[in-house]
């Protein structure tokens, strides 16, 4: 009778080991990190851009992470939070976006002079993210005993997600207005110094409703340098 027990227990243990091995292999493949090439690049680009507006944006990126036991048990969905397994982080980030006018697009069609009178038709302003900075002094984080601290790689992933969510929620229409007005204000004194007495700085006003909408969409696709 004892042997029978040993036999049955052995079979159970064997099947359990097989099952465990399968899940651990699965977890390994899921968590494997793809490391990109580390080649250092240096790219030079000649340009002529007048940055006339600067927008400083502040956001606190947060994450609350509780370990959960999820899956199926005989066709029943299981979703149980594991007690004392939470960790939290709040990362303040500062993003700088600048509005610019691409002066290389200006040609004789955009600049009309007539004696001391000048008319400049500016191209549409564009936007570039010039800096994303983590305010490390003010990071707040906590982790329960069974959890490891947040890795720097995880923090960077949150910052990346935070940066993307900022773009979606910015008042781009307002930004376009201020960028246009600031571009004109920046150019005005220069033209004045050059001796022009009557200065007209215009923006593209030949956009119909449909084109304006299309143009607005282009602004949303900002340059991520």
């Amino acid at each position: 009778m004892k042997r029978l027990h040993i036999l049955v227990i052995g079979v159970f243990a064997l099947s359990a080991i097989c099952g465990c091995r399968q899940t651990s292999q699965k977890q390994e493949t899921e968590t494997s990190v793809k490391i990109d090439s580390t080649a250092l690049v240096l790219r030079l680009q000649q340009c002529s851009k007048i940055y006339s507006s600067e927008y400083k944006i502040h956001k606190i990126v947060t994450n609350k992470d509780v370990l959960k036991l999820e899956g199926n048990v005989i066709n029943h969905k299981v979703d149980i939070p594991i007690p004392n397994s939470s960790r939290k982080i709040a990362i303040p980030i500062d993003i700088t976006i600048k509005g610019y006018t691409d002066m290389s697009q200006l040609d004789s069609r955009n600049i009309l002079t007539e004696g001391k009178k000048i008319t400049v038709i500016l191209p549409d302003p564009k936007f570039a993210v010039t800096s994303v900075k983590i305010d490390r002094k003010n990071i707040i984080k906590s982790a329960d005993l069974i959890r490891s601290a947040y890795l720097e790689q995880e923090i960077n992933q949150f910052v990346k997600k935070g940066e993307q969510s900022v773009y979606k929620n910015l008042p781009w229409d307002e930004f376009i207005k201020t960028a246009r007005s600031n571009a004109a204000h920046t150019l005005f004194p220069i033209l004045q110094d050059l001796g022009f007495e009557e200065i007209h700085i215009q923006n593209r006003d030949d956009l119909n409703a449909q084109e304006a909408e299309k143009s607005k969409l282009l602004f949303k696709n900002i340059e991520n340098r």
Partner: protein
């Protein structure tokens, strides 16, 4: 005695067979899904938080050379048993150009009819903050690192990038391009004889 052992073995084999058969049946009932499939998950999503536009300001920066660069920095902390090692690749774009706020009243040296002579401000780095930390690649992270130590790594990368990008060679490239671009603009405005020079720092 032999009969008893034989009977026990037979019973054991029947039990194993029955167990395997039940397992197989349950598995086919669940259409290939295993009977119990459990995994431990964690939340890697960020929460929705408001954004604050802390500052909108007018600037006047004329960029003539944009330098996109990466910098690999690493740091090792000696430990009792093991050393802590961290290596990050930072990415940033540096802008070289003219800060138009430094234009003074004497920037136009001479102007007569269609000829003009300008003294432009020196080519400088337009913004000291140029690293995009969302693009930082943490290459190696072993051991425990404080936020202060990570900030030091960032500053180290920033300094190195700045030194490399603000070389005399790059300044000369930017100056040449600035001359070409400004001359082109002035020609479009009707000036034919143009002389440009840059103020020394």
């Amino acid at each position: 005695m032999r009969k008893k052992i034989g009977f026990t073995l037979l019973l054991g084999l029947i039990c194993i067979g029955l167990f395997v058969w039940i397992g197989y049946k349950v598995k086919t009932m669940l259409n290939g899904n295993s009977l119990i499939s459990l995994s431990i998950t964690q939340n890697s999503e960020i929460e929705e938080t408001p954004i604050e536009i802390s500052k909108i300001q007018r600037i006047g920066e004329w960029e003539f050379l944009s330098i996109k660069t990466e910098e690999l920095v690493d740091s090792i902390k000696k430990g009792f048993f093991f050393d802590d090692h961290m290596a990050c690749i930072y990415q940033g774009t540096l802008s070289l150009g003219i800060n138009m706020e430094t234009f003074n009243e004497q920037w136009i040296l001479a102007q007569k009819a269609d000829s003009i002579s300008l003294l432009l401000p020196p080519i400088t780095l337009l913004d000291q903050d140029f690293i995009n930390e969302a693009k930082t690649n943490v290459f190696i992270e072993e051991g425990t690192w404080t936020e202060k130590e990570k900030e030091e790594l960032y500053q180290k990368a920033r300094k190195r990038m700045q030194q490399r990008a603000c070389s005399q060679e790059n300044r000369t490239i930017a100056e040449k391009h600035a001359s070409a671009q400004i001359s082109h603009l002035l020609r479009t405005m009707g000036f034919t004889k143009i002389h440009l020079s840059f103020r020394k720092e």
